[in-house]
């Protein structure tokens, strides 16, 4: 790459709300892109300066910014986040991270605590793989099979994004453009991101995060179980824990109003 990188362009930054209000940044997890926050973010537009972005390799982020070395570890994504927050020059952020983005925020906040006012972690997991004395929810075999499935570029993954984006015949009011952009991932990069995500282990980083945090846990989540969420809460120096009465890994889609309520309560209690 030549010349300085503009993190705002690289990460396809979109802004909402009032720039004079406190900064709130939304980071999507493995899978889709910033569109995941569309049921949650607008509720904070009155009170906050909202910034949404796509991780490199996802959504509308600059594909040429993907660096096989830098983005082979969550630290590289944390670098991206730090550069992004620096470029925003909008004061410390309330950083809302879903799934793996919660751990990316942990790494970034450990290194640059002054950039973060609060962390909101939705469905975080410090380690997906089971370990001695630790239940991550996935056996080594299961993760291997998952990665192999993606490695085959076969069933269930990228080869089948095409039929998905053919769209919803019953909802013609959705612009074709929007349908095409949501959840569209480069299969190769999705595979690499999955490897980076599911093989990561950030348990040792948790005790070093000084930022006050809120851990939001879905009642039932096969990717990040209650036990896993509790572990994160227990090992963060300053954190609160709230359970959302919903099932699945995406409470911001399945139970947006509950999630918004929990965030509001937490931010007001500060």
């Amino acid at each position: 790459m030549v010349g300085p990188v503009d993190p705002l362009q690289r990460n396809n930054v979109a802004r909402q709300g009032n720039p004079s209000h406190p900064l709130m940044v939304f980071a999507h997890g493995f899978g889709c892109d910033q569109g995941m926050w569309r049921l949650v973010a607008p509720s904070f537009a009155e009170t906050h300066h909202l910034v949404l972005f796509d991780h490199v390799g996802a959504g509308g982020a600059d594909p040429s910014a993907y660096d096989v070395v830098r983005h082979s570890a969550l630290d590289g994504y944390a670098d991206d986040v730090i550069e992004l927050l620096e470029a925003l020059e909008a004061g410390p952020a309330i950083f809302v991270g879903h799934s793996v983005s919660a751990m990316i925020a942990v790494l970034a906040a450990r290194r640059r605590p002054e950039l973060f006012a609060r962390l909101v972690m939705v469905g975080p997991s410090a380690r997906y793989l089971d370990d001695e004395g630790y239940v991550g929810g996935f056996s080594a075999e299961a993760i291997e099979e998952l990665l192999a499935t993606m490695g085959d570029n076969y069933l269930g993954w990228a080869a089948h994004l095409a039929p998905i984006i053919m769209g919803a015949p019953e909802r013609p009011e959705l612009a074709a453009e929007l349908e095409r952009s949501f959840c569209q991932t480069d299969p190769e990069l999705a595979k690499r991101f999955a490897r980076t995500t599911f093989l990561s282990d950030n348990r040792a980083d948790l005790p070093h995060v000084p930022t006050p945090s809120l851990v939001l846990q879905a009642r039932e989540d096969v990717i990040a179980s209650m036990q896993v969420g509790r572990y994160v809460h227990d090992h963060l120096p300053v954190s609160e824990f709230a359970v959302l009465e919903t099932t699945g890994h995406c409470p911001h889609l399945s139970a947006p109003s509950e999630l918004i309520g929990a965030m509001r309560r937490y931010l007001l209690s500060a």
Binding site: A168, E220, V222
Partner: protein, 498 residues
């Protein structure tokens, strides 16, 4: 559709809550999976999938269903009694929101489609593989073809190894004159050697026309990405032929060097009335000698001829032409002829010798008794006069066009009287020409250096001048300088004259 139709439909059908929990399931699905109704109802649909499908549901499909209300024909695998069953999933979220929302799911068998997709994938991966092989071969060939010297071919192989061959570490061994293999020591930082990699190393012999010119040894970054055997062999052959060519080139340039040195090695004539010293620096940029020469010889009893010339061209042919022109100059020079006539004779000579067709010459004759220097320059830089008791100056007269140039309008000469101890410097353009520098600045520099060295012993002076003028010049051209000092007439003739 009544319930009877629903349960016996030839596709798997389910009704789920918005969260994905199964409320109803039909016979076909139970039949496929081997589960009983009670064990399926109440669980979440993704739990029936293999882990890939499960994760895909959680990270992609559920968000999509919430965003767009449906997904169409997504391939997932059901875990069934007999292993895995590929199916296509279509799901629609009923438009009523809230907890009453329902998801309707149809799963249809996809064995044929999945087989077809596997074949497509295999074909694509084969095509990718072939493209990668061709690209690697092309990159390696282009790199070694562009290299001139043996060491450059080795460097090209090493740098190509990293990106075209996907090597983690690489070394090149070259066959030496002794027929043994010797490691090539790269000036580039080596690729870091991975630990314990010897067993994985790949050796490619660099096969020239008549012998193995060397060996490329590398450790592939991954076994699966390793290039095909015939592609590696072909890269080895390309490099071998490139090494053949590089060896030939280096031999021919070294012959040219030896020739140039031997031609210039002759000893200068001895006479009490003058001292002469010369310096010759061959070009080092690409080992190609140019056609610079210098010469000093006696003309009868009381004159000495001094010559510096430059045949345009490089390599063996330029060296040979230089030798011929040097001999020709000696042959046509004779007492009483004078520089203009000598140059005119040389014009005739170069008409016959194609390789010497374009040459420049500075030619002078010094009357050893009277101290008169008669000189002529055919397209050559002016001699530099270094008088004992006056500032140095360039001799800008007696100029005409280069030898062999068609625009020649006759040769002219000029003369200047020397005092005992005066010196004169003849030199070729390699001494003063320098890329990115103004020639006037460089000649000014020569004037300064020569003046400073004015009183040094002759051999020291000419060496110092040459060294200083070439100092810091990257890839200098041939350069040659001839410095002569007139010591004055014979004591006997001095006495006679007095």
């Amino acid at each position: 559709m009544d319930t009877q139709d629903w349960t016996s439909a030839p596709v798997g059908l389910l009704t789920l809550t918005a969260d994905g929990v199964v409320l109803e399931v039909n016979e076909a699905l139970l039949h496929w999976t081997g589960h009983c109704r009670a064990s399926v109802v109440g669980t979440r649909l993704p739990e029936l999938f293999s882990i890939g499908g499960r994760m895909y549901w959680e990270t992609h499909l559920a968000p999509l269903l919430h965003a767009e209300g449906r997904v169409d024909e997504v391939a997932v695998e059901l875990v069934v009694a007999a292993g895995r069953l590929p199916v296509l999933l279509t799901a629609v979220l009923s438009p009523h929101g809230g907890t009453e929302a329902r998801m309707h799911v149809a799963l249809s068998g996809a064995r044929e489609r999945s087989r077809y997709e596997r074949e497509l994938l295999a074909a694509r991966s084969q095509a990718d593989h072939t493209a990668r092989q061709i690209t690697a071969l092309h990159q390696a060939t282009a790199a070694v073809s562009a290299a001139t010297l043996v060491s450059e071919v080795a460097e090209a192989l090493l740098s190509t190894a990293a990106y075209a061959l996907g090597a983690r570490a690489a070394t090149v061994w070259l066959t030496g004159d002794d027929g043994e293999l010797h490691p090539h020591h790269s000036d580039q930082p080596p690729l870091p050697a991975p630990p314990g990699s010897d067993a994985e190393a790949v050796l490619i012999s660099l096969l020239g026309r008549d012998r193995v010119q060397g060996v490329l040894r590398f450790v592939p970054a991954s076994r699966t990405e390793l290039l095909d055997h015939d592609v590696l062999t072909s890269i080895g052959r390309q490099a071998g032929v490139a090494l053949d060519r590089a060896h030939l080139y280096e031999r021919s340039t070294s012959v040219a060097h030896e020739l140039a040195h031997s031609l210039l090695a002759g000893s200068a004539p001895k006479d009490d009335r003058f001292v002469v010293a010369a310096a010759y620096r061959p070009a080092v940029a690409d080992l190609a000698v140019g056609g610079d020469w210098h010469d000093t010889f006696l003309l009868g009893a009381d004159a000495v001829a001094l010559v510096v010339g430059d045949v345009v061209g490089r390599g063996l042919s330029a060296a040979i032409a230089m030798g011929q022109l040097r001999s020709a100059t000696r042959a046509v020079a004779a007492p009483g002829r004078g520089p203009a006539v000598v140059l005119a004779e040389l014009d005739r000579f170069v008409e016959q010798v194609e390789a010497a067709a374009v040459a420049t010459v500075a030619y002078g004759e010094l009357d050893l008794e009277a101290g008169q220097l008669t000189y002529a320059c055919a397209g050559h830089l002016p001699p530099l006069l270094l008088p004992v008791s006056a500032p140095p100056r360039f001799l800008w007269e007696g100029r005409s066009t280069p030898l062999g140039s068609t625009a020649s309008h006759g040769r002219v000469e000029a003369s200047v009287d020397l005092a005992p101890g005066d010196r004169v410097l003849l030199y070729t353009d390699g001494l003063v020409e320098r890329r990115c520098s103004d020639i006037d600045d460089r000649m000014g520099r020569l004037l300064t250096v020569a003046r400073r060295e004015r009183d040094q012993p002759l051999a020291d002076a000419v060496r110092t001048i040459t060294d200083e003028m070439l100092h810091g010049v990257t890839a200098p051209d041939d350069a040659c300088a001839l410095l002569l000092a007139w010591q004055g007439p014979h004591p006997a003739s001095r006495a006679g004259a007095g």
